[in-house]
């Protein structure tokens, strides 16, 4: 099964910072509708479809949003001051290009050379080539959202793009849906494409609240440090999807964790274990909803997460689709917990 590069390119290059996910949502809605499903959209912008009409309720999510910025002020000369949406990696920003929601472009730079503060958001500004304050306000009004735009590049074994966090998860869910479409389902599996994971995890919380599943799974990227080996992380590009043991928002439910590992072993799916000492995903958010929902994460190791040049391995993507297709058709997944 080769990677559908056209779909992944479209997903990663589409505009969708937290709170402004409509364009990504539209791609998903159109695709699912075309394939004969009846996807629905909730008040926050979450999109969902459910496969199967009996058995345990499983919720599996990937988030549509990416990190970005919002314009919060325009100075007298017409330069924009911005605030981060999500965990923006400041050091990667000098010379970055911002694509705004209305299609306008800008470049980021610092107004100081003081090394201590030059990457602080207070020191950064965006230049959109405006003549003055009024011109800037007309072109990119205060409150406009923006993203760090880049095109996706196929590097052979690896793929480099912006927003692989978490459009690669969206891609994996869409492909898993394709795989399961003709299969007889023994679980009621809801596929949720969530909003605002990078900001407040509002989308996943709302979805988990309304569905109240027995098990929740989030598909996302995880950090890898297979270049510098300074962070002492196990996750390596090309060694397969990771089964999350824990991150700073979640300790995966032990029975679920064992089930995923056992299933991967039995089906000979190459995988690795993920202990991430920082970061969190929708899985952590969903685990705290209602009376507490048993949750787990399946992740794709990625280099340079939260920069415009995130990098993942194609084999890991294929492995994740394989693992999820297998796991979601096992009846016992919901009976475990």
């Amino acid at each position: 099964m080769a990677i559908d590069l056209k779909l992944l390119k479209k997903l990663t290059e589409t505009f969708g910072p937290s709170g402004r996910e409509d364009e990504v949502g539209k791609i998903i809605l159109d695709r699912l509708t075309k394939k004969g499903f009846k996807p629905s959209k909730d008040v926050h912008g979450n999109i969902k479809i459910t496969l199967g009409n009996s058995g345990n309720k499983i919720l599996i999510t990937a988030h549509m949003d990416e990190i970005g910025i919002v314009v919060n002020y325009i100075d007298e000369k017409g330069f924009l001051k911005i605030s981060p949406i999500g965990g923006v990696y400041n050091e990667a920003l000098f010379g970055s290009r911002i694509l705004f929601a209305n299609g306008k472009w800008g470049a980021i730079f610092s107004q100081t050379t003081n090394p201590k503060i030059k990457t602080d958001f207070n020191s950064l500004f965006v230049d959109i080539g405006a003549k003055n304050k009024e011109d800037a306000q007309k072109q990119v009004p205060i409150g406009t959202f923006g993203v760090f735009h880049r095109e996706m590049v196929n590097l052979g074994d690896n793929i480099m793009a912006k927003a692989l966090d978490d459009r690669v998860g969206v891609y994996i869910l869409l492909k898993t849906i394709d795989n399961l479409k003709s299969k007889k389902m023994t679980n009621r599996v809801t596929f949720g494409f969530t909003v605002q994971e990078e900001f407040s995890t509002l989308g996943a919380r709302a979805l988990a609240h309304s569905i109240d599943p027995k098990v929740a799974i989030a598909v996302d990227v995880t950090a890898s440090d297979d270049i510098r080996e300074k962070l002492y992380l196990n996750m390596t590009l090309g060694n397969g999807p990771t089964i999350k043991i824990m991150d700073s928002s979640l300790i995966s439910h032990p029975k679920l964790k064992n089930f995923f590992i056992d299933t991967a072993k039995k089906e000979k799916i190459k995988h690795q274990l993920e202990v991430l000492p920082f970061g969190g995903t929708d899985a952590g958010a969903m685990s705290l909803v209602k009376n507490g929902i048993p949750a787990i994460g399946v992740s794709i190791p990625a280099r340079y997460v939260h920069t415009p040049s995130e990098m993942v391995n194609k084999k890991d993507i294929e492995g994740a689709i394989n693992l999820l297709t297998t796991v979601l058709t096992k009846k016992d997944i919901g009976d475990l917990v």
Binding site: S18, G19, R20, D22, D42, V43, H44, V70, N72, Y73, D75, E76, K81, S83, P84, I85, Q111, N122, I142, G143, Q196, F199, S200, L202, R205, A206, H209, S210
Partner: protein, 344 residues
């Protein structure tokens, strides 16, 4: 707007909002409403719609203000304290405070400039004490006890086109909510006057269990730093006199985009001046309206200069325009709900 001043003068540091709840109850005593105080002390006011009885909106404002809690009574009769909510330590020395149920007056100590070095000008709260005129611990204990709450001591007043007071964050929101509740409505209006916002947006979470509605609005008094400053290239957040501030995104939540567009449309359509809040700062009850109720929600604020400080002020016209904007938006939603749910 006398009631706005009265509210600002009320005593209501986080967790001790009883006095504010009483003022609000009195203000609303002439209208037909259901009142409930929840377990944490938030006041939930339900006004049933004249026509539509199952649909409506939720408005929230918090009753608490930043303040202090007495943590220790010292041998020399002075009181040690901790802050409730975010107050800049530099503001504290030599400020008058008012403490506990007996409203004991005191002043926070201040090192005389003759004896202090520049480096000591901002002192940790841990080292500051309040003097209430007691000569020793025994005398102090006759007036106050550990756990007593305190606020800045400041009477509100009106001056030309401005209102001045200590607690416009968020008594100005409380004031606006009471005015909205007094109007005629065909849909349900639930007003939540919440507790403990300044110490972690707590009260709204339990209060929302008693509220329902299709749209949520947090009404706030927010930061305006629009004077000449050291760093003119930095955002002043909001400007006083330029109308209600709509929050696109704050530290905790992103206002629902569709609702933002509706509010903006109402402002434009009715010639109500408005502005966007120009910093991503502060967390508001919007987060819980979105999260707990799963409804579109947004925060609308009155710009106030010097919030979380002993004395702040705001413009009357901003208050009037905020009421207009909230009312106009709610009326538009009312119209839509009547179209959807009304009639036979």
């Amino acid at each position: 707007m006398k009631f706005a001043l009265e509210l600002s003068d009320g005593f209501g540091p986080s967790s001790g909002e009883k006095n504010i709840a009483e003022l609000i109850k009195k203000e609303l005593s002439s209208i037909s409403i259901d009142l409930k105080r929840d377990e944490l002390g938030s006041l939930i006011v339900f006004k049933e719609g004249k026509n539509i009885k199952n649909h409506g909106i939720i408005l929230s404002a918090h009753m608490d203000e930043v303040g202090f809690i007495i943590s220790k009574i010292n041998d020399d009769g002075t009181l040690s304290f901790r802050k409730l909510g975010g107050i800049d330590n530099r503001l504290l020395p030599a400020k008058r405070v008012i403490i506990g149920e007996n409203r004991i007056k005191g002043t926070i100590m201040s090192p005389p400039i003759h004896l202090s070095k520049k480096s000591e000008m901002a002192i940790d709260t841990e080292q500051l004490t309040i003097f209430i005129g007691a000569k020793d611990k025994k005398q102090a204990l006759e007036k106050v006890e550990i756990g007593d709450l305190a606020t800045f001591d400041q009477i509100a007043f009106e001056k030309q086109d401005t209102l001045w007071g200590k607690a416009f964050d968020d008594r100005i929101g409380c004031y606006i909510l009471t005015q909205i509740l007094k109007m005629d409505w065909d849909i349900n209006i639930t007003g939540i006057f919440s507790v403990q916002e300044e110490v972690g947006v707590r009260g709204i979470q339990s209060a929302l269990e008693y509220a329902s509605g299709e749209f949520g609005f947090a009404i706030e008094g927010t930061t305006a730093y629009d004077i000449e400053r050291d760093f003119p290239e930095e955002s002043p957040s909001t400007f006083i006199g330029k109308g209600p501030a709509i929050t696109v995104v704050d530290r905790m939540s992103i206002g629902t985009n569709s609702l933002k567009k509706i509010v903006e449309g109402v402002a434009k359509g009715n010639n109500i001046p408005y502005q966007f809040k120009k910093t991503v700062s502060g967390g508001t009850e919007t987060f819980y309206l979105l999260n707990q109720k799963n409804i579109p929600a947004i925060c609308i604020s009155v710009p106030v200069r010097y919030i979380h400080a002993p004395l702040g002020f705001c413009k009357k016209e901003d208050i009037i325009n905020t009421i207009k904007l909230v009312k106009g938006t709610a009326k538009l939603l009312e119209f839509q709900m009547k179209k959807l749910y009304g009639g036979k």
